[in-house]
Amino acid sequence: MFICRTCVRYANDVKVAQVAEIVSLADGVGRLVRDGDTVALEGFTHLIPHAAGREIIRQGRRDLTLVRMTPDIVYDQLIGAGCARKLVFSWGGNPGVGSLHRFRDAVQNGWPAPLEIEEHSHAGMANRYVAGASGLPFGVLRGYSGTDLPEHTDTIKQITCPFTGEQLAAVPALNPDVSIIHAQRADRRGNVQIWGLVGVQKEAVLAARRSLVTVEEVVDDLEPVPGQMMLPSWAVTYVAEAPHGAHPSYAQGYYDRDNDYYKEWDSIGRKRDSFEAWVRDTVFGGEVSGK
């Protein structure tokens, strides 16, 4: 994933007066995510869009370039289910528990398919989203110097300050085809409200060509909340209601992190057959998402 075209006039394809349409989760994912797309699911520990991730598996998308700073369980699931061709990331683990076994199996053994990786640091990934959201082709940071990352990642270059001559790192903008995030609430016009840890979600949405925001609930009016971050309706493509859609991560004000699930995932994800049973029973079985 490395999109940085001078011919792209604008970061978004949106037209005058377009506001977010409220759709079902299945429709939102169905209309936005296409085979071969570059897709970012963001949410830094908080508000991870798990329901949307399962919906992508259910719809059988393939050859995706998955972008995410912290590919944790949500991407372990997508990788294990064979949706991904490539992963752009900075930290891939099961936080507080250990490894992601599906991710490891793909990188070490090519199962169920080889997984190309493009590896950055958090600071690099964050600045790639910032550049993408800003309509700039690249971002600048003090980073990577002396590490082995630039040797293996060709999206890390040097740039010289035109005033001081100092050398810094440059990284290309990230402009996913689709970004998906989860938020606490939206109103009926599609304005989105998030509070608590806001991570890199605003940048991921603004950097993307199209976006889907899943929410705990759609309400008539968005009461102001301290620490809120607002995304106006016209900056979002679709909004879909997906209650409990961040589980096993948490939604501040709605439910807590399910720490047991993270531990449980270690055993589900460890073996190919237990993972496949999980896909069959949980993703394609009864109770799933966005009900």
Partner: protein, 263 residues
């Protein structure tokens, strides 16, 4: 090893585990008022023990976007709700790295490591010589490369063994002292790098001349030979080798209460 011994958690006896000694030694290294960038796991445990013992004004910064978190339980991730709810300020992830870490506002970066080498370089990326076909794929960099570059100094806390303490890391995820003195300056890294490495056996500090990690302190009941066996390079021992004070009852009780509450 005879001491430290494994103890049932809820008993406040003078016995303690080597992991407990490590966490408490790490906690002691954080002076009050320090602005500390905290990784999850051992660093977070140590920082929270410090805040509840000798350093009530320790400023905990988590990469998820919290400045000054004051959790009353150990968080199980770097982005638990309790960290945001108790923070002086909650900010976005780009701001953490760009406005707070990068300009050198953080005193201590507190990191873990899968592999650590003689010069304090850290590997959390791959085990094995071939990046494209690794023996073990680790989680990767996260915030560590820039934490190691930009904090005024870095403390590393890691369980010590020949596997984790190696002559040279398989992959430099985060630069410690490179291949020796002058390397950080040459690379344009502005913080002092690892000044302290705390393990379950003792404490290492970089030699002022060579920047090689030197054993400067042994935890109680550990001898130099044990450390040598768990070190993957030819160990240098400081002339003024000292012994860590055993955990106090208050320290142990704080650590165990925190652990209890979060399990």
């Amino acid at each position: 090893m005879t001491t430290p011994q494994q103890q049932p958690r809820a008993e406040w006896t003078p016995g303690y585990t080597s992991d407990e000694m490590m966490s408490i030694a790490a906690a002691r290294a954080l002076s009050d008022g320090t602005r500390c960038f905290v990784g999850i796991g051992l660093p977070s445990t140590a920082a929270n023990v410090a805040r509840r013992t000798h350093a009530p004004d320790l400023v905990l910064i988590y990469e998820s976007g919290t400045l000054g978190s004051k959790p009353d339980v150990l968080p199980s991730s770097i982005g638990d709700g309790i960290l945001a709810e108790t923070a002086d300020a909650v900010i976005g992830v780009p701001e953490v790295f760009n406005y707070w870490l990068q300009p050198g506002r953080i005193d201590v970066g507190f990191l873990g490591a899968a592999q650590l080498d003689r010069f304090g370089n850290i590997n959390t990326t791959v085990i094995g010589d071939d990046y494209a076909d690794p023996a073990v794929r680790l989680p990767g960099a996260g915030g560590a490369p820039e934490i190691a570059a930009s904090c005024r100094e870095v403390f590393v806390v890691v369980r010590q063994s020949r596997r984790s303490f190696v002559e040279q890391v398989d992959f430099v995820t985060s630069v410690g002292h490179g291949r020796g003195r002058g390397d950080r300056e040459r690379l344009g890294l502005r913080g002092a790098g690892p000044t302290l490495v705390i393990t379950d056996l003792g404490i290492f500090r970089p030699d002022p001349d060579t920047r090689e990690l030197v054993l400067s302190q042994l935890h109680p009941g550990v001898d130099v030979e044990q450390v040598r066996e768990a070190t993957g390079w030819e160990l240098t021992v400081a002339d003024d080798l000292s012994t860590t004070d055993a955990p106090t009852a208050a320290e142990l009780s704080t650590l165990r209460t925190l652990k209890e509450a979060s399990s």
